[in-house]
């Protein structure tokens, strides 16, 4: 037993001998994803403010209408979030001894295909702009258009790699729920981010 020689006016941080337990919070991969998404949000926020400032700093901003295929790509990306959601509930069903991993895998493959289709569709949009003579450096409006859509597509490709990893794990029946959860949080965020960017580009470009 230790005794303190502190005068009682010092409020000693709590000195109970019983270890305080704490229920540890959310699963670690999800925490990591949320932290990563905070950084990604900040990056796109920085680009957004750059765009707003650049738009106002000179009268050289030329509006253009972006390719219609962008709307189609949006639908594809939203659909991929639905298939991923299906995959999650089917995966949860496996745990209850209900089914094999087939349905879940199919939903995951569907997500992967739709995501890949999204990226291809974005590429098609860039090609369409190029035929109209609109390149990265043509005008600040096009610079930001390409910047936002390319960076978003790169992050979506990252998500595709994550999905591939998840699919390979499920094939070998070693997929943990937390991994699927974290991956789907990232994927849904890519959809939300795209909706934001679409709105931003629609208003500004």
């Amino acid at each position: 037993m230790a005794t303190t020689l502190q005068p009682p006016s010092i409020k000693l941080p709590s000195a109970r001998g019983v270890p305080r337990t704490k229920k540890l919070g959310p699963e670690v991969p999800s925490t990591g994803i949320w932290v990563g998404l905070a950084a990604i949000t900040m990056t796109f926020a920085a680009f957004t403010s750059a765009m707003i400032v650049r738009h106002g700093s000179a009268p050289d901003w030329q509006h253009f209408s972006f390719p219609i295929i962008l709307y189609f790509n949006t639908v594809v990306l939203i659909a991929s979030s639905f298939t991923l959601h299906m995959a999650r509930s089917r995966f949860a069903a496996i745990g209850n001894g209900a089914a094999d991993s087939g349905p879940a895998l199919r939903a995951l493959y569907g997500t992967l295909v739709l995501g890949g289709l999204f990226v291809c569709g974005q590429y098609a949009a860039w090609l369409q702009l190029r035929t109209k003579g609109i390149y990265l450096a043509t005008n600040p409006s096009s610079s930001f258009f390409y910047l936002f859509t390319v960076l978003h597509a790169l992050h979506v490709i990252g998500g595709l790699l994550g999905l591939t990893y998840v699919i390979s794990k499920l094939h070998r029946s070693v997929l943990a729920k937390r991994t699927l959860d974290a991956t789907s949080q990232y994927w849904h965020f890519m959809g939300v981010l795209w909706l934001y960017l679409l709105g931003l580009l629609w208003i500004r470009i």
Binding site: T3, P7, L12, P13, A15, P19, V28, V35, D60, P140
Partner: protein, 593 residues
């Protein structure tokens, strides 16, 4: 990503040389790698500062060896004005990024954060390893700028466009500047990966009984710093991308039209805003300086408590102050831009939080000094550097009073006063935090005690030397001595040349004294006395394991935490302290006053 259990990261003990020492997943090895990289960067940065000081005072002297580094930059060893600026740019970039962000945060933080919270490793060991190697690549990309074309960029570590965006604007502004921007972008990614790890680990991997409030102050500092860094580097990265695009892809984010350089109209840019870069850069840049100082402040708090042999007057207040500083740091960036041409109303808006941030900083200083009253100070190299930090932090902070006010900044902006201010807080105080951490934790990291006599000599010489170098900068600033000049040709600068000479002598002396530290570090590593597990009678979890710790930190015995981190100044079975993981109970005995 890596599946982890709720309490600790599992990976098998490393086998083989490469896995153990090079591509290691072990946070301790990664921490040492960051420290080593930082040490290399600080040595290069210090040599660069000598070259700068020599040129300022003896501009026509041939500096031995310099012509081998660059025959165009220093023909016959005599530095050209542009080469001075190029060396200056690299000095700033190396020091701010690869030393001040690396060592106190990524170096010590990587090593000690998991141990201090009772974890086996970081949450994402593979991302952690990647973060170091990404930073390592970024370092060499930066160093490559010395050896390309006409050398490194000359636009300063702040790289304001259009100077930094146009290759024709100066020597080094072609390939050198592009390499710089790429290097910094790579560095951002490394830092983001690192911050991701620190935050997730702190939130999710604390051992049983380790509540957030029971974490040591340095752990708190690392946690808060990683939160700041996550958001700050996420803004610098876009800025660098936009700069690279302006340089190589013909965009005009930062470059307006109608510019004429050497009678050539710059035709392929128009409409860009140089102020946009400044806003983006300083939105990162101000939090960055708190990223540089907070870990050192946390390390110093941790060491001071140990050497005071009593807890600080309030553990919670220190934590809240660090949080307040972190939060406020995002609201003050415009104080770097008072005379930049931005709205003068914004200037006042930025001035207000800049002045307010004085308050939590003052509280920290008062707590450090106030807790020393009535304490039983143990004097060793670590505690001396920690106390030196407090003195330097006061000095550097006090010069901030001046610069925080736009009206005074009209006179002092762009002068040596600013250079004195930031060197005091970053170039001295933060470095003192690193020295303190090295002397304190060296025994734990390397299993060997360092030589205390050499440490004390190192301290005294560096303390006096640093004041001799940087105090005069403030006087020069008061006269209006402009900064970033490669030579002092103006009329009003002539009477100040003796002051510059004094500074140069002090810088050479203080730099030379660091040999003592290097010798101590290297000699002790191999020949120092074997270190016990707890050489300083410390209470936190790093002292509850061997020196150095085993690969999984606690030899399979996950600690359980019973106490707050700083139970010092009490009568206990092991002395005047109780360790965090000791089940020994503590009872307060009421004293008669």
């Amino acid at each position: 990503m890596h599946d982890v259990s709720t309490h600790a990261a599992h990976h098998a003990p490393p086998q083989g040389f490469l896995r153990k020492y090079v591509f290691s997943l072990d946070h301790k090895v990664i921490g040492k790698q960051y420290y080593g990289l930082g040490l290399l960067a600080v040595l290069i940065g210090m040599v660069l500062s000598w070259l700068m000081r020599l040129h300022l005072v003896w501009p026509n002297a041939a500096i031995p060896g310099l012509k081998w580094l660059s025959s165009t930059g220093a023909p016959g060893g005599i530095m050209t004005p542009e080469y001075y600026l190029q060396l200056m740019t690299m000095h700033g970039t190396l020091m701010v990024f690869f030393v001040l962000t690396n060592v106190p945060f990524a170096g010590f933080g990587n090593y000690f954060l998991p141990i201090q919270i009772g974890a086996e490793d970081m949450a994402f060991p593979r991302f952690n390893m990647m973060s170091f190697w990404v930073t390592f690549v970024g370092f060499w990309v930066l160093i490559a700028a010395f050896f390309v074309g006409d050398g490194p960029p000359l636009s300063g570590w702040t790289a304001y466009p259009p100077l930094s965006a146009l290759a024709s604007a100066g020597p080094g502004e072609a390939v050198g500047q592009t390499l710089w921007a790429i290097s910094i972008a790579i560095f951002c990614i490394g830092q983001l990966l690192g911050s991701l790890n620190f935050i997730t680990t702190t939130l999710d991997l604390r051992t049983k009984g380790m509540t957030l409030m029971r974490m040591p102050l340095c752990t708190w500092a690392w946690f808060i710093t990683s939160c700041i860094g996550l958001l700050a580097f996420a803004v610098l990265l876009p800025a660098c991308i936009l700069l690279i695009l302006d340089r190589v892809a013909g965009t005009s984010f930062f470059v307006p039209g109608n510019l004429v350089i050497s009678d050539q109209l710059i035709a392929n840019h128009s409409g860009g805003s140089p102020l946009l870069w400044q806003h983006l850069f300083w939105f990162f840049g101000h939090p960055e300086v708190y990223i540089a100082i907070l870990p050192a402040a946390g390390i110093v708090s941790h060491i001071l408590v140990n050497s005071y042999r009593r807890p600080l007057l309030s553990h919670k207040v220190v934590i809240y102050c660090m949080m307040a500083i972190g939060f406020l740091s995002y609201m003050v960036w415009g104080h770097h831009m008072f005379v930049s041409g931005m709205s003068p109303y914004s200037a006042l808006a930025f001035s207000f939080p800049t002045l307010v941030i004085t308050i939590p900083s003052t509280i920290l200083v008062l707590i450090w000094i106030g807790s020393l009253y009535g304490a039983r100070l143990q004097v060793n190299s670590a505690s001396l550097f920690a106390l030196g930090f407090v003195s330097m932090f006061v000095t550097g902070g006090v010069s901030g009073f001046f610069l925080a006010q736009p009206s005074i900044d009209v006179y002092l902006h762009g002068t040596y006063f600013v250079v004195g201010h930031f060197h005091m807080v970053m170039g001295v105080a933060a470095i003192f935090g690193m020295f303190a951490g090295t002397y304190f934790w060296g025994p734990k990291m390397f299993g060997r005690m360092m030589n205390e006599t050499l440490g004390k000599i190192h301290f005294w010489c560096t303390f006096v030397g640093a004041y001799c170098i940087f105090m005069p900068f403030h006087y020069l600033g008061m006269v209006g001595n402009v900064r970033r000049y490669s030579a002092f040709v103006d009329d009003y600068l002539q009477p100040l040349l003796p002051v510059h000479k004094f500074i140069t002598y002090a810088a050479l002396f203080t730099g030379a004294v660091q040999i003592i530290f290097l010798y101590n570090l290297i000699y002790s590593r191999f020949k120092g006395k074997p270190a016990p597990a707890n050489p300083w009678d410390g209470t936190s979890l790093e002292w509850a394991t061997s020196s150095p710790p085993p690969w999984d930190n606690f030899g399979g015995k996950t600690p359980v935490v019973y106490h707050d981190p700083y139970q010092y100044g009490i009568e206990a079975s092991s002395g005047d302290y109780v360790m965090q993981n000791s089940p020994e109970q503590i009872q307060t005995v009421r004293e008669d006053k």
